[in-house]
């Protein structure tokens, strides 16, 4: 058996075993509680930090100064992508409704 197949088979078997024993149910709650506490502990001191604050003000201003032109293009492209996605979904929904009739 090739390596990817072997890996996928062993992962599937491990997944099946843990699911059968209900280990997930028992582990998920305490693990998520611990993870949340850890993340909150790290985050409370810089509750309002953002990636822009990671850089110095000057560095951030230098980078942002190139934005005005970019924003117009990006807004246009985002609008186009979102509109196309909505159009595709509406057309598919219409087609499905017609098929049902």
């Amino acid at each position: 058996m090739q390596i990817p197949g072997l890996l996928s088979a062993s992962a599937r078997s491990a997944w099946h075993k843990t699911r059968c024993c209900g280990i997930f149910k028992k582990l998920t709650m305490p693990l998520s509680a611990v993870a949340s506490m850890l993340v909150l502990h790290m985050q409370i001191p810089n509750a309002y930090a953002h990636v822009s604050h990671v850089l110095s003000d000057q560095q951030y201003a230098d980078i942002k100064s190139g934005y005005p032109d970019i924003e117009i293009i990006a807004a246009g492209m985002t609008g186009l992508v979102a509109f196309s996605a909505i159009l595709v979904q509406s057309l598919q929904k219409c087609r499905r409704r017609l098929e049902r009739c």
Partner: protein, 281 residues
């Protein structure tokens, strides 16, 4: 595990929980934004010399409190949408950084407070005339609350992918350099482009509604990584966290039109070609 989760979240209970998550996240964000002095923005505070500064901050905090409590939710949602429209006057096109708020506002407007809200308690015995309920049902707005969140979130990710990574790679490159995050064997420019393309791909999947649970788990992982690695705040990302949790819980929504059964064979074909190239011998 997912089967158990699906059984627990029957459609009525699921919608109540979803609306509770959306309301609380949006409310906490609004109150934080009001405390920080930004307009729907907890990163860039407004100029406090603005004539209406106090009005904006108070309105945000009041709407936030209303949403958390689930009191007059639809009124709060309408005010939220009004505030979102106004952010364009303050921040210009930068307001699109928060376009997911539009989706959250629409969802709250369409669905209201739902099960776990003060609205439900206060207006439980209120009689709504039948013609009105019939007309509202005909509009079909009830089923639009999840699609509005999904589409706005997808558009937000596409926008951020373009503006913070693909078209303006300097910021992300500087952050990567600061945290020594350059992946082995890839230059910083390529790494930024890769990150941007991943963000675009996830945004597209949200827009088209493909594999919502898988994509949302991935999104949640990326958010945890970002927050932990770059020491960013959870508050600034609370809406993103909430949206990914909402779609892990709900999966697909009512207007998803893409048939994943048709997409899966194509993806399998791509995987096979890649595996063939990797293990050509």
């Amino acid at each position: 595990m997912l089967t158990g989760l699906r059984q627990t979240l029957s459609p009525s209970k699921g919608a109540g929980l979803t609306m509770l998550l959306i309301r609380v996240a949006m409310g906490v964000y609004l109150v934080s934004s009001g405390v920080m002095g930004g307009l729907l923005n907890i990163v860039d505070p407004m100029d406090s010399g603005d004539m209406n500064f106090d009005t904006y901050m108070t309105t945000q905090m009041v709407v936030g409190a209303l949403l958390i409590a689930g009191l007059l939710t639809r009124v709060g949602a309408a005010m939220l949408l009004g505030m979102f429209a106004f952010t364009f006057a303050v921040y210009g096109l930068n307001a699109l950084d928060q376009i997911m708020i539009l989706g959250m506002g629409l969802a709250l407007l369409f669905k209201g407070g739902s099960t776990y809200s003060l609205d439900r308690l206060a207006f439980k015995n209120m009689h709504i005339p039948k013609p009105i309920t019939k007309k509202l049902a005909w509009l079909g707005t009830d089923g639009l609350f999840l699609p509005s969140v999904r589409i706005a979130f997808g558009a937000n990710l596409v926008w951020l992918g373009f503006t913070e990574k693909i078209f303006a790679p300097n910021m992300f490159a500087a952050v990567m350099e600061k945290f020594h995050l350059s992946p082995i064997g890839i230059g910083p420019d390529m790494a930024v482009l890769g990150a941007g393309l991943i963000e675009l791909a996830i945004g597209m999947m949200y827009l088209l509604g493909i594999r919502m649970r898988t994509v949302s788990v991935l999104m949640f992982g990326i958010l945890v990584f970002t927050v932990v690695t770059f020491h960013e705040s959870i508050l600034a990302h609370i809406i993103m966290f909430t949206v990914s949790v909402v779609f892990v819980l709900n999966g697909k929504d009512s207007i998803i039109g893409i048939n994943t059964n048709k997409v899966t064979p194509i993806m399998r074909q791509v995987k096979n070609v890649l595996l063939l190239k990797m293990y050509a011998d």
